[in-house]
């Protein structure tokens, strides 16, 4: 135990001197939170919209007025459909309305009239959103819909809790591998192994300070986003701490695994970036729902600790849930799995 404390102390002194690690540990997370908090939004407002009207009646004028008065559209008038099509091509507008000659006439004859809506489909996600917005605008007889847990459907409330998971993964894996492999590269590991301290104590002592940093960051980011971004927090802090600790197990194990195989800091850095950061962002359900990925891809996403922790964090933040038996088991299983591989790799190295 005293040995462990000594190593932790040694590592903390190292850390204090290592400016770049400190920047990664404390500046980067806040920077990312601010960036993501402001930049990631799928909430549509003021869609640039083209309008061509061949029907100059008051009826169309009224519709156009309510279009531009709404929060959703910013209308630009065009003389011909050709011109509007060109603007769509150039990306100046995202959708366009064409009111035909017989628009108001058709209303008095048939009781309704049709407006043609052209949408730039290149961004499929955006196009669908625009389509729904238009639909909602014209067809008012909608059912009563109530949204639970994020009643205003803010992107932020969804993204920021997820970001905590991504940042923890990043800090846990990158900082740990940096420290262990860096020591290896400089040849200090032999020196450490000649000391009476056993090797797993050394590794543990090197991991704990970085785990602590990741853990502290959970609260810094939560507090920051609670105050600045007004993210709801329905659950309990105790719960968040408990599950964060649980999540550190597979994350740090993953870091240990990478460092037991990588020989230089450079490869360790690249590997941890490519094998943890990218998949954690893309495959974990951070933004894109896992349920919707192809069946062969889903097992891969379950190997990523972030996938499970994301469910937990969102549950705590938005729903106030405190019991996650399934996810906890997955985290423990993954942690054990990665530790076993790490030990295997380390043993091979010694031989």
């Amino acid at each position: 135990m005293r040995n462990l404390l000594t190593i932790i102390w040694k590592e903390t002194i190292h850390l204090k001197r290592d400016e770049r690690s400190l920047i990664i540990a404390f500046v980067l997370p806040l920077f990312m939170t601010i960036l993501y908090g402001y930049a990631i939004s799928f909430d549509l407002k003021k869609i640039p919209t083209g309008v061509v009207s061949f029907d100059k009646s008051i009826y169309v004028g009224e519709i156009l007025f309510s279009l531009s008065a709404s929060d959703y559209f910013r209308t630009i008038n065009f003389e011909s459909t050709r011109e509007m099509y060109k603007a769509l091509e150039a990306g100046k507008i995202k959708c366009g309305f064409v009111f035909p000659y017989d628009f108001s006439k058709s209303k008095s004859i048939k009781g309704f009239s049709e407006v043609q809506v052209l949408i730039d489909g290149s961004d499929a996600n955006l196009a669908k959103k625009i389509q729904q917005t238009v639909q909602k605008f014209f067809i008012k007889s909608e059912p009563n819909v109530r949204f639970l847990y994020n009643s205003e459907l803010q992107s932020r409330n969804f993204v920021i809790p997820g970001l905590i998971v991504i940042l923890m993964t990043m800090l846990g894996v990158i900082l740990t591998t940096r420290s262990i492999v860096g020591e290896k590269e400089r040849g200090n590991f032999e020196m450490l192994s000649t000391t009476p301290v056993r090797s797993h104590i050394i590794i543990l002592g090197k991991i704990i300070p970085y785990g602590t940093i990741a853990f502290i960051n959970v609260f810094i980011i939560s507090g920051f986003s609670f105050i600045v971004f007004k993210i709801p927090f329905e659950g309990s802090l105790l719960c968040l701490s408990f599950y964060s600790l649980l999540f550190l197990f597979p994350t740090l194990a993953l870091g240990a695994m990478i460092s037991s195989y990588a020989t230089t800091e450079l490869t360790a850095l690249t590997t941890s970036f490519i094998s943890t950061m990218l998949p954690s962002i893309i495959l974990s359900g951070f933004i894109f729902p896992v349920e919707n990925m192809p069946k062969w891809l889903q097992p891969i996403s379950f190997l990523i600790p972030a996938t499970h922790f994301l469910k937990i964090v969102r549950g705590i933040f938005l729903k106030g849930t405190s019991f996650f038996p399934h996810e906890s088991l997955s985290l423990i299983a993954l942690g054990t799995f990665y530790i076993l591989i790490a030990i295997k790799g380390a043993k091979k190295k010694i031989k």
Binding site: K86, F112, S113, N144, V145, F158, L269, I287, P289, K319
Partner: protein, 346 residues
């Protein structure tokens, strides 16, 4: 100089997986995983009213690909519980007084999509004599009529792959020479600094173009992405982009002390590119200040060009602004890196 660089690249075995596999893997990841669509949404149903209208709605719910009825419940509490535990993403209440819908809002994107699907089904089953609205929008999707996310992602990934590969490669080069100690050899050659930098750039330029062909070919043949534009124009606009990223990489490598510091800096530069370039998150939705900030990212313009070439088939006539900007970026950064190198020499 050129010859020496090619030999070095050939000998560095580690580069091959980076050049060949990394782009393809990224293409697969982004092509398949990045979609906000959702099908087979699990829902809970509470039915109080037993008439033919409710039956019809249930029938079209079940026959649509959008929903799966996970459970039939008898109270709103049960629906809320099912949503809380994640067994259902939404609940439909066919009540005496009308239709009510509860949706799990925690993922706001999914929630909005679910709402849209419900509305679509209810609209299709409306009573035409009473409920017909005055204006019915008739939609036509341009440029990507099937609304396939892959078609949007492939051009974006192409830009991103080029950015990552060229920058990581370029940021590593000079520093490596310094670490190995061969940089003094270069200093004492009679080559001018522009010649050194260009000699370093060209081989990587070729690698960049190789990756461009690789990703575009994979996009067209594996993902069936349409390619409506002119390939010559693509090459014409790719040149200034690669020039920019390589010069930027070299600039980083000149100003860094160790290889890992260089790679680290390169990653730091890439991170905002991933978020702010419009690659995943629409720029139009960002606050105005951030929108302005995105104009300093070269990759933003390149992705706009790529998407327009792939999906819209437009050329220089519409994209001249983006093209000019890219050329400006390219030569500015090239100039800067040569300048930095000269300063280092003296």
């Amino acid at each position: 100089m050129l010859k020496k660089e090619f030999c070095q690249i050939k000998r560095d075995r580690r580069l091959f997986p980076l050049i060949i596999f990394a782009p393809v893997i990224q293409l697969f990841l982004f092509g398949y995983a990045v979609s906000l669509d959702i099908n087979e949404i699990p829902i809970a149903i509470m039915k109080e009213k037993h008439d033919s209208y409710s039956e019809e709605i249930l029938l079209s719910l079940m026959s649509s690909n959008y929903f799966i009825i996970r459970e039939n419940v008898h109270s709103i509490d049960e629906i809320e519980k099912a949503i809380l535990h994640g067994r259902a993403k939404a609940g439909l209440i066919l009540g005496e007084k009308g239709i009510n819908i509860l949706i799990d809002g925690s993922d706001n994107n999914t929630a909005a999509l679910i709402e849209g699907y419900f509305e679509k089904i209810l609209f299709e089953n409306r009573n035409p004599s009473i409920d017909t609205p005055e204006v019915i929008p008739v939609f036509r999707m341009l440029f990507n009529p099937e609304l396939k996310t892959v078609n949007f992602m492939v051009p974006g990934v192409t830009g991103l792959v080029l950015l990552i590969i060229t920058m990581v490669l370029a940021s590593g080069i000079l520093v490596k020479e310094r670490e190995v100690g061969t940089i003094e050899h270069i200093f004492v050659t009679p080559l001018t600094s522009s010649e050194v930098i260009l000699g370093k750039l060209l081989p990587f330029m070729i690698i960049g173009f190789f990756d461009l062909f690789l990703v575009v070919a994979a996009g067209i043949f594996i993902f069936n992405t349409p390619f409506k534009g002119n390939f010559g124009f693509l090459i014409f606009t790719t040149f200034p982009f690669i020039l920019t990223t390589l010069s930027l990489g070299i600039f980083i490598s000149i100003t860094s002390k160790t290889q890992q510091q260089a790679v680290m800096t390169a990653f730091m530069v890439m991170l905002p590119n991933l978020i702010l370039s419009g690659f995943m998150f629409p720029i139009e939705n960002m606050p105005l200040l951030l929108q302005k900030l995105t104009s300093i990212l070269p990759v933003k313009y390149y992705i706009i060009i790529l998407r327009s070439i792939f999906l819209k088939g437009v050329g220089l006539k519409i994209l001249w602004r983006e093209t000019v900007i890219l050329f400006c970026f390219g030569f500015t950064f090239l100039f800067l890196s040569i300048l930095a190198f000269k300063k280092k020499l003296s």
